[in-house]
Amino acid sequence: MSMDPAEVEFLAEKTMVTVVPNFNQDKIYLIGGEIGPFSPSLPVDVPLWMALNLKQRQKCRIQPPEWMDVEALEEVKQKETDDKFFTAMPSNHYMEITQLLMKYAPEDIPRADQIRTLIKDIWDLRNAKLRSSIDVFVRSDVTHAKLNHLTPMEINTARPFLTRALDQMHMLRTNTQTGLKQTQE
């Protein structure tokens, strides 16, 4: 079974972000929990999907998450370059959140272009790393692997190829182990 990147994004939209509203409103009781209250200029945490909805209705400004900062991301990029393994990302949905904020609230993000480039660099670095580890993995005889710190979007992009390759390899490996097989009917 596979998943569309839009569905990974859908999951990412649950992430809480801080918005600065321009309206007054008591608490909103959602099925998923209570949100608010809202007062003009007072920062409040809401799920990303709601932040984007408010933003499109010009009812708030979105505060970029702390990690969405040029200096912080340069550090993340450096660590990713230096470390042989995948490093922990500041957000499990860094790619999707960046995408969405860049599309719907670019004016709320200082130095948006630089951030966009840095995120893309980090994504590319990690993807190159992922491909090399896939190569090592399939050439070895191990049958499972730990993939800590890989984010859902990264997993999802590698999923179709990787799972199919391993499924096929499992079949070919089983062939070599059973050697002599049951006579077919």
């Binding site: 009781y29 099925i31 998923g32 929990g33 209570e34 209705r57 499972h144 997993i155 799972t163």
Partner: protein, 221 residues
């Protein structure tokens, strides 16, 4: 608008503890992910589905009563859309598996002990039975009954489609679990046992972790 965060009685949990709507929603999301990535049909989470549909219904009634132009209505409608997507996609994924492995899931239902929980909801079961009859009837009318007498039956040994439990899945460990047997002993190598640590992410064949998915010790991602 009414307060909807009141505690809900959740009949599905064995301890009989109650869950909030938010917690049930979280469970729905997990069930959706597991169902999407597991090759096999998992146990239906009927209580969760019904509970969420009930929540949606109540919320829709609240919306109907809301004043025109109430700015919250849009937010509530969005949330309803999101939850309905989870439910639809979850049930759709299950339906696809039921259609693909009809004979297999019906076989398992038949073999199920009376103390075991069923994989399918009663309505899914009805669907599976009707689907299977429709398919068999189709084979019979167009092909089987025109064949020589000794070839008129479907041989389940060949024709029953079964999920490939050896397919690879990605998972995240929710609870420390020691001693998971991942490889049976073979002529060339001994058995392989691993310990799963909470928070770990792995790519592994589904078969050795199938029971851990059902119990919630790991979640598919």
């Amino acid at each position: 608008m009414a307060d909807l965060t009141e505690e809900l009685e959740d009949e599905s949990s064995e301890e009989g503890e109650s869950m909030t709507a938010a917690e049930v929603l979280q469970k729905l999301e997990e069930a959706w992910l597991n169902e999407k990535f597991s090759p096999d049909l998992l146990e239906i989470k009927n209580d969760i589905v019904d509970c969420m549909l009930e929540q949606i219904k109540e919320m829709e009634e609240n919306i109907r009563r809301a004043k025109k132009g109430d700015f919250r209505v849009g937010i509530h409608k969005m949330e309803i859309d999101r939850i309905r997507y989870f439910i639809s996609s979850y049930l759709r994924t299950r339906l696809q598996k039921i259609e693909k492995y009809t004979a297999h899931v019906l076989e398992q239902e038949k073999a199920r002990g009376s103390d075991e929980t069923p994989q399918m909801s009663p309505d899914e079961y009805t669907f599976a039975k009707e689907y299977s009859e429709n398919m068999e009837n189709h084979f019979k009318v167009l092909a089987l009954r025109h064949m020589p007498p000794n070839l008129q039956a479907l041989d389940p040994k060949h024709t029953v489609m079964r999920p490939n439990l050896d397919s690879y899945v990605f998972l995240r460990v929710n609870e420390d679990t020691a001693g998971v047997l991942v490889e049976e002993e073979t002529a060339e190598a001994g058995e392989e046992v691993i310990d799963l640590e909470k928070g770990d992410q792995l790519i592994i064949r589904y078969r050795p972790v199938a029971t851990l998915v059902e119990s919630g010790a790991v979640g598919l991602i």
